[in-house]
């Protein structure tokens, strides 16, 4: 498979996905539930844009049966050439359990890159990335891309507790400003990540800002509404159960606005996972 560009049916150009039996290079456990899995998948790594995802299946057999979607977290490079990628994974079920337990040399089937990436902005527009929990996943790659363009980047990052805020130094090292929140108040604001975000929006006055969000859906909704009320553009990465990741099954739909009150369902694996915050019909279900 080359990397031919094709027009996605939901109206976006994506490189042709490839299916790679990727070897595990390294598995770093960040906590009792989170791990970062490094995979040798040069073709995918070279083609992936921030916000895109891969469909992953560890092991053979029927448990799990279907692939699962994961954002491309970091792109790994050797001598400047992309040769691997990492996944930031949170243990919630059978696949993530296997990713958590994976050891060097294991093979993980990896199909990608897939989906519509975030739209990178250039200076003077500032990039504000808003992450809830494992919603951090697309933002390492996005931060690198944006910083390479000289764009100012802030990460608003919320979790239950400070022990679940990862990669803080990684972002600081790349000149990313951090605004943190924890539900137990152990680091940053006590409460949700929308707290520091709203404060910043209040203070941002005339600055141009693009808000990127990834996290649980109610958070995405809150962020999109907040951005809109402050007249800022937003892009959110939605998380849907995906059967195929390729437009085949229609499992992954989100309600997209259709005039003032209507909506229609769009497959998030093709039309997303990244959508403009304004496009989603948040009230639809």
């Amino acid at each position: 498979m080359g990397s031919v560009l094709k027009p996605g049916p939901e109206g976006i150009l994506t490189p042709m996905p490839v299916d790679v039996e990727a070897r595990v290079i390294r598995n770093t456990r960040l906590s009792s539930d989170y791990n970062v899995l490094a995979l040798a998948a040069p073709d995918i790594a070279a083609a992936a844009a921030p916000g895109q995802f891969v469909m992953v299946k560890p092991g053979r057999g029927c448990t799990p049966l279907l692939r699962r979607p994961f954002s491309v977290f970091e792109v790994l490079r050797t001598n400047g050439r992309a040769d691997g990628l990492t996944l930031l994974s949170k243990r919630v079920g059978v696949t993530t359990e296997m990713l958590f337990e994976a050891v060097e040399g294991d093979v993980v089937s990896c199909l990608g890159p897939l989906g519509r990436p975030y739209t990178a902005v250039d200076p003077p527009v500032e990039a504000w990335m808003v992450a809830g929990g494992v919603g951090l996943a697309p933002f390492a790659a996005l931060a690198e891309l944006l910083r390479a363009r000289g764009t100012s980047v802030t990460l608003f990052y919320g979790a239950r507790t400070s022990g679940e805020l990862f990669y803080l130094d990684w972002f600081r090292d790349r000149g990313v400003r951090l605004a943190l929140a924890t539900e137990d108040g152990s680091l940053g604001d006590r409460g949700r990540v929308t707290l520091p975000l709203e404060r910043a929006l209040q203070r941002a006055a005339a600055r141009e800002v693009m808000v990127y969000a990834c996290g649980p859906e109610p958070m995405l909704e809150a962020v999109a509404r907040m951005a809109a009320s402050y007249r800022r553009r937003s892009e959110v990465s939605v998380e849907r159960v995906m059967g195929c990741g390729l437009g085949g099954c229609y499992s992954c739909v989100v309600p997209v606005r259709d005039g003032p009150n209507g909506h229609h369902y769009v497959r998030s694996c093709l039309g997303g996972p990244v959508f403009a915050g304004d496009d989603i019909a948040w009230d639809a279900h």
Binding site: M1, V4, K6, P9, M16, P17, D19, K57, C62, T63, P64, L65, L66, R67, L111, R240, V241, G243, C244, L246, G247, G248, C249, Y250, S251, C252, V253, V254, P255, H264, Y265, L270, A284, H285
Partner: protein, 314 residues
């Protein structure tokens, strides 16, 4: 020897017996960049009503042991947009297009058949009288012998395209439905559609699907589907398109040996979207290995005689 992989589904000849199953391959065009559609025996496109449909709210699928439930609710663009927006590309890609049609009424099936008969590039019609996920129409035909007979004969009257009613497995005696279809003039039958099923999240006590119930597909159902194909084969002479959990060439061959003339693959293509050449090549290898000249010579060759004893120094 290059084995002959072509099969005949009534008046239609497919270049090989491997068809993408309806609802599992979008409108085909989604895969056109990845898969050479002209290499497939056929492409059964997503079920179409006359009008566009929104389908059910999420969650629409859930994984189950060796299977999955779906309750998509037949989201679709309707037959007119299909003809204008999708069919031209399918034609251009030289896909053998099987259009899966759904009706709330008998008249809707007839109207769909009429419209699609006038369109260029449709190879056959598959009548979805077996979708377990929608309330109106469809499966009420598929669960009644006279309903099945009536819809098939009404459609046959208005089209010269091959007509393939798709049978539901949610019945006591699937072979009687195959017979009803055959008597009504069906060119073939396809089976199985999904099994009505459900899953509950015990923590919230809510159904995992928004529609409460959905259809079970995937390897889990394969042994039941094979049995149903076997029963139908012993009951009707018309071609049978078998499906349900096929994930390897061996699985496809199992259906053919049980009595299928061709097969469809759905769920497994989600796991491996490049499965098609593996299946086609795998069938070819098997034929060579077993010195079978034509794949169609396999159909229904199950040997139910007593096993012989063999002694190999295992």
């Amino acid at each position: 020897m290059t084995p002959d992989l072509s099969v005949r589904i009534g008046p239609l000849t497919l270049k090989n017996p491997v068809i993408a199953a309806s609802g599992c391959f979008g409108y085909g065009v989604e895969y056109a960049g990845m898969v050479d559609l002209s290499l497939l025996g056929g492409v059964a496109v997503k079920g179409l009503f006359l009008a566009p449909r929104e389908g059910h709210p999420p969650e629409r699928i859930v994984e189950t042991p060796a299977g999955m439930l779906n309750a998509i609710g037949l989201q679709g663009i309707g037959v007119h947009r299909f003809i204008s927006e999708k069919l031209p590309e399918l034609r251009e890609r030289r896909a053998t297009v099987i259009v899966n049609i759904c009706g709330s009424t008998l008249e809707e099936y007839v109207e769909l058949a009429r419209i699609l008969s006038d369109a260029e590039g449709v190879a056959a019609l598959e009548l979805n009288i077996s979708c377990p996920n929608i309330k109106e129409g469809g499966i009420t035909f598929g669960c009644s012998l006279t309903g099945t007979y009536d819809v098939v004969s009404a459609v046959k009257k208005v089209t010269s395209l091959p007509v393939i009613p798709k049978l539901t497995p949610n019945v006591t005696d699937v072979a009687s439905f195959a017979r009803a279809a055959a008597e009504a003039g069906a060119d073939a039958v396809s089976l199985v559609n999904t099994f009505l099923a459900m899953a509950i999240d015990v923590e919230t006590r809510r159904p995992k699907l928004s529609n409460i119930v959905g259809g079970l597909s995937g390897p889990a159902i394969r042994p039941i589907a094979v049995r149903m194909v076997y029963q139908c084969r012993r009951s009707v002479k018309i071609p049978i398109v078998g499906m349900g959990g096929i994930a390897s060439a061996r699985d496809a061959l199992e259906f053919m040996i049980a009595g299928a003339d061709a097969v469809q693959v759905g769920t497994a293509s989600f796991v491996d979207p490049f499965i098609w050449t593996k299946l086609i090549d795998g069938i070819g290898d098997y034929l060579r290995r077993h010195d079978v000249a034509r794949v169609r010579d396999l159909t229904g060759t199950i040997d139910t005689a007593a096993r012989e004893k063999e002694w190999i120094s295992s």
